[in-house]
């Protein structure tokens, strides 16, 4: 039996997932309302096109609807899981369109400030703060470290592909990834503790 929308809205993501696994549309709708925007934004960031991002997001959420029971709470939050599903779909999309270059910039400094209305809740405010911190941490990276992380995470390239793209030894690419992630992790350490 499906839960009412009002009740679903009061549940935590982790409580919604078993309901989604039992094919409850109200629970799914609440999940989409909470995280659909982030998934669409990530997909757009990767594929660089709104129509394609829409397709990717739809495929990702349908996949979540069908495989909700596979969520493993011990491996991270529902939001992280949803976003990783969206990312994987977006990378698959990019790969299926060989030759499509990912967008390669971290320079949208004012973008979050311009975001309209819907993010007035405390949780959204926290996410916005986190986003600013992460962007700040990435912005503080030396360009060569930011670039390999960008190519790997948002471009879906392997370290050997990145080495080829940037004409660098593979060890250098892996080293830059490590240094970059260490710095991001270090800057965010307090917030992530």
């Amino acid at each position: 039996m499906a839960v009412r929308r009002e009740k679903a809205e009061r549940l935590a993501d982790e409580e919604l997932m078993p309901l989604v696994g039992r094919k409850d549309p109200e629970a799914f709708e609440v999940l989409y309302d909470r995280h659909g925007g982030a998934a669409f934004s990530l997909a757009y960031r990767i594929v660089g096109d709104r129509t394609a991002a829409e397709e990717v997001t739809q495929e990702a959420f349908i996949s979540v609807w069908r495989s909700g029971a596979r969520f493993d709470a011990t491996r991270g939050s529902v939001r992280s899981w949803l976003l990783s599903v969206a990312r994987n779909r977006a990378i698959d999309f990019l790969r299926s369109r060989a030759g499509k270059a990912p967008k390669l910039d971290f320079d949208d400094e004012s973008a979050l400030e311009q975001r309209p209305a819907a993010e007035r809740t405390e949780e959204e405010a926290l996410r916005r703060e986190t986003a600013t911190e992460v962007r700040g941490a990435i912005g503080n990276l030396p360009g060569e470290q930011a670039k390999v992380i960008e190519l790997a995470y948002f471009g879906g390239f392997s370290h050997s592909e990145i080495a080829q793209i940037l004409s660098l030894p593979m060890g250098t690419v892996k080293g830059r990834m490590r240094l970059g992630l260490e710095k991001i992790r270090g800057e965010l350490a307090e917030g992530l503790a």
Binding site: D24, R45, A53, W65, G76, E119, V134, R135, A152, L192
Partner: protein, 235 residues
Amino acid sequence: MSGSDHKQWGEDLAAYALGALEPREAAELERHLEGCDRCRNELRWFEPAVRLLPESVERQEPPPRLRAALMTAVRAEAQPESRHERSGLFPARLREGFAGRGMRIATGLAVVAFAIAAVAGYEIGKGGSGGGGGGSTLVSSEHGITARMVQEGDGGTLHLADVHQLPPGKVLEAWVRREGTVEAVPALMVPDRKGQAETTIADMNGVDTVMVTEEPQGGSEEPTSPAIVTMSVSQ
């Protein structure tokens, strides 16, 4: 395990966390991780940074039609589970058909020239408007079926009543004409014992005609039989 071994694995951990190892390398590292607390802890330390990367992207508002399309597909899949599965009215193959069709919304709907309808003898626009522009449109077809289109926001619901029982292996499929092309409505219909059926149309923008045909289980890419319902929609 020597220090130099750990240096080598350590170089791989960040690439692994970013999903940037080749599959063979990732498999090797995973085997190593099974027996190495030190590397597992190091990976665990990296992972939150990677998990937060998506939060750094510029926020984009998804189009409302994405939500509508998703919920149409989801509800179509949920309904057989909750309402019809026990009575066996929705065979598994048809449920799969719902799912597949839902996916096609964003990827480009099957579009055919509506001239097909004229060739096949469809009668369009027999009904009158019951609710004014953007409201409900009522149509009665010559087959004795009452169709009621209720528009809400960008979408709408097509309700059918007095539908005859379908032959085995058949379903009802709705179609909309938008800017001269015909699109399949994802959720297929099977009338209940009272002869009622309904389907949701996620996006009614630009739709001037809605019709329903009898199709094989799983639906068709384009109409394959004469329409049993046609209705004009006032925009």
